[in-house]
Symmetry: C2
Subunit: 442 residues, 2 copies
């Protein structure tokens, strides 16, 4: 019988804080990191996932994934394929682990689940999006934990959404194969100079990008000047989004964003705390009349928070992340909820491997769930691809090209892995670690 | 200079799943566990905290507390006393760890913070409640992270609440010294027989208790019979609460509780997911007209969720836990929010050490913040005290007796610690651990 034979978990970190790429008001000096989980079956296939973090704490997630191994070891691949909701429920509702709440527990669960899905895709030789697209609606809805979602979206409503899309799937797939999935680029990191940002924008424009995002929230005057600078660089027809990474309180967010209302901004992302549903409602009520839409999701820790955000008008763009919650099973529920409430799903990219994963989720979304290809923007960051992944993400004309390799496409370059293992890889061995601890405290 | 010299972290577990004490619909076989953190200063004083979990996963929290040690090592005790909000902010908003979300990260932070507060109390020789009561309002409000709370309660409003209570503090303290803090008892665990429950109730009644709680949610007919059984045992004048531990969806909770509306129930606790603010609103709107109030909090992972629950009418009883969030600093904000919105704070007790800690929080609440002593019920479970703690919690006439020993009163019996160290203490060494892992997977 083909079962899970072996699971390995690795802590990889890149010292991105050296040049402040990825910096935002809260995460001033991130070291882009990931927990790399590899699940090998008896057949020799390898399922791979990453859980992205920003440095310190990556080992907490690695510890968690390691601890979940006994729940997946010897699991029969056929059982997983028959019902990919069962393992998910086993971990999610583990009668003791459940006490740990979300955060690290849910991220670790995602590490296991996303690697198991990758293993499945490898066993059948399909890219993840194609595996999802080919699944029957009846199988898909069994992947989701409905208990705390069904007041906003019932299992039957979800089934109906999926069934209604069945007949047009092949047409949508063909269309996406031709034009890809529209992407946007985050260019304006807090720590970068105008010159650095301009260089990045011009490069992205030449790659066909016409939608850009920048970080805001430190200072209104500075932000106004930088927005104007970026607007001049991208042109009046391009889309421009801003991102505050939760740096404001609810009322502060409203006041700040009123100052930026005249800049034709497509969305303000994370204006306040990741779990403040009522706060987002208040912000949306104040800002929507000014033409400002609100987005959030990359740090939403549970599908229940997402359910409230999506179903209540608290946000207008649902920014799923591929590895913040419990993996693809959690994300599926949010994509279906967003379809019912007619929100575009605009996934969070960047980090390490996020872009590789979210393209699959967005393709499935546009083919099988909700064709909002005219409003869906998928984050793309031209960073940590070449030299990191064996098959780097491809974009063309400002859109993700549909991947053809089996699984998520997360196979990493062996030298990159060896160099960035923490704390003993080549990149880290020579660096000083304050107090002799395993993470950089600053 | 007196600084933090040494920090030790221990993983202790009790095989409570053997007799199903502590069982509920979701946590069917808990092994009551805690992470015991000891912070020693140069003066020789020892600050102690526990973080409670239900078994597997206790090591995740222990791992986290261990990882936070570098942030507290060599910290000057005087600096902590001058501004106990500074260390809290350092951990809470650590620019890399923040990415981990709540859950394990926030619980681990609570382990450090609560031990630091205990160390302070030991240095000055006061029980925790007295340390808190004696602090100036201006110091107390600096302990709290206001950024994401101030739309519901501003720093100035909190200051005003505290200042308004200054003049009556000594009178309240005297009164509580005489009559204690009213407690209630959880008797009706899912896994217990009627006979076992009756024995416990009669014992508690003889100790002066007149408020009881039972677990519900498995089966309406069973619950009706059990509620009637318990009501007969406790009498018509006693208070009776029920607890579903999140086992229902929103609509299912409403339907189920309508069936129980005639039993004179004081509150339904955790009718649905811990973070479903809008769900709790809907449930409260449906049930309040039937005379049923709603309670939650023991698994609320962030002050932002609590803020929404308390300020929007989603719940009518705020059930703080001493170690679910980031320690006393997080809890203070909730107690002040509850005061403004006039909700009784009815802390979650039981576990290991929870009762020891919450009594201090409730005394501070009733003396310094909000005298709702007529509606406040503090959970008490007569379990894991004798033989566990050097100074077990005392109750008299159904009320917590004000503790007099310095700190939280969490000093443990050395034999209990040695026996219950996981996985190599006497209690665990002989037990089989499936798959050779460090936690019991079932």
């Amino acid at each position: 019988m083909n079962t899970v034979k072996n699971v390995t978990v690795q802590d990889l970190r890149v010292p991105t804080s050296d040049d402040l790429l990825g910096s935002d008001p809260f995460h001033k000096k991130p070291d882009y990191s990931c927990v790399l989980t590899t699940i090998e079956s008896n057949s020799g296939a390898k399922g791979i996932s990453v859980v992205f973090t920003v440095g310190a704490g990556n080992d907490w997630v690695a510890y968690g994934v390691n601890e979940l191994i006994p729940l997946v070891k010897n699991y029969a691949i056929d059982d997983f394929i028959k019902n990919p909701g069962e393992l998910y429920q086993t971990i999610l509702n583990h009668h003791q682990l459940r006490w740990l709440g979300d955060g690290v527990f849910r991220m670790a669960m995602g590490g296991i689940m996303n690697a198991m899905w990758d293993l499945w895709a490898k066993e059948v030789g399909k890219p993840m999006w194609k595996l999802l697209v080919d699944l029957e609606p009846e199988t898909l809805i069994e992947c989701i934990d409905w208990r705390h979602l069904e007041d906003a979206l019932s299992k039957n409503e979800a089934l109906e959404i999926l069934r209604n899309n069945q007949s047009q799937k092949s047409r949508s797939e063909k269309r996406l194969n031709e034009k890809g999935v529209k992407a946007y680029s985050t260019a304006g990191w807090i720590g970068l100079t105008n010159d650095q940002i301009l260089e990045k924008i011009n490069q992205m424009k030449s790659d066909g990008f016409d939608a850009f995002k920048l970080k805001v929230g430190q200072d209104v005057a500075f932000d106004k000047a930088r927005i104007q600078f970026i607007r001049n660089a991208i042109g009046v027809d391009a889309k421009l989004m801003v991102d505050a990474n939760q740096v404001w309180g609810v009322d502060a967010a409203i006041e700040y964003m009123k100052e930026l209302a005249d800049f034709d901004i497509t969305w303000i992302e994370e204006p306040t705390a990741r779990d403040d549903v009522l706060g987002y409602q208040k912000i949306s009520e104040a800002l929507n009349p000014l033409g400002l839409k609100v987005a959030a999701g990359e740090q939403i820790q549970s599908p229940v928070i997402f359910k409230q955000m999506v179903s209540s008008g608290a946000i207008q763009y649902a920014q799923i992340d591929a590895c913040r919650m419990g993996g693809i099973n959690d994300v599926m529920g949010i994509i279906l909820l967003a379809a019912k409430y007619e929100l575009p799903v605009c996934p969070h990219g960047g980090g390490i491997g996020l872009c590789n994963m979210i393209r699959h989720l967005s393709i499935w979304d546009q083919v099988s769930v909700s064709d909002h290809s005219n409003t869906q923007l998928v984050e793309y960051i031209d960073f940590l691809q070449e030299g990191v992944f064996v098959n780097p993400v491809k974009v063309k004309n400002g859109a993700y090209v549909l991947p053809t390799h089996p699984g998520w496409g997360l196979e990493m370059d062996q030298k990159f892995v060896d160099d960035h293992l923490y704390p003993n890889g080549n990149v880290w061995r020579e660096r000083e670690k304050p107090n002799g601890v395993t993470f950089v405290v600053e």
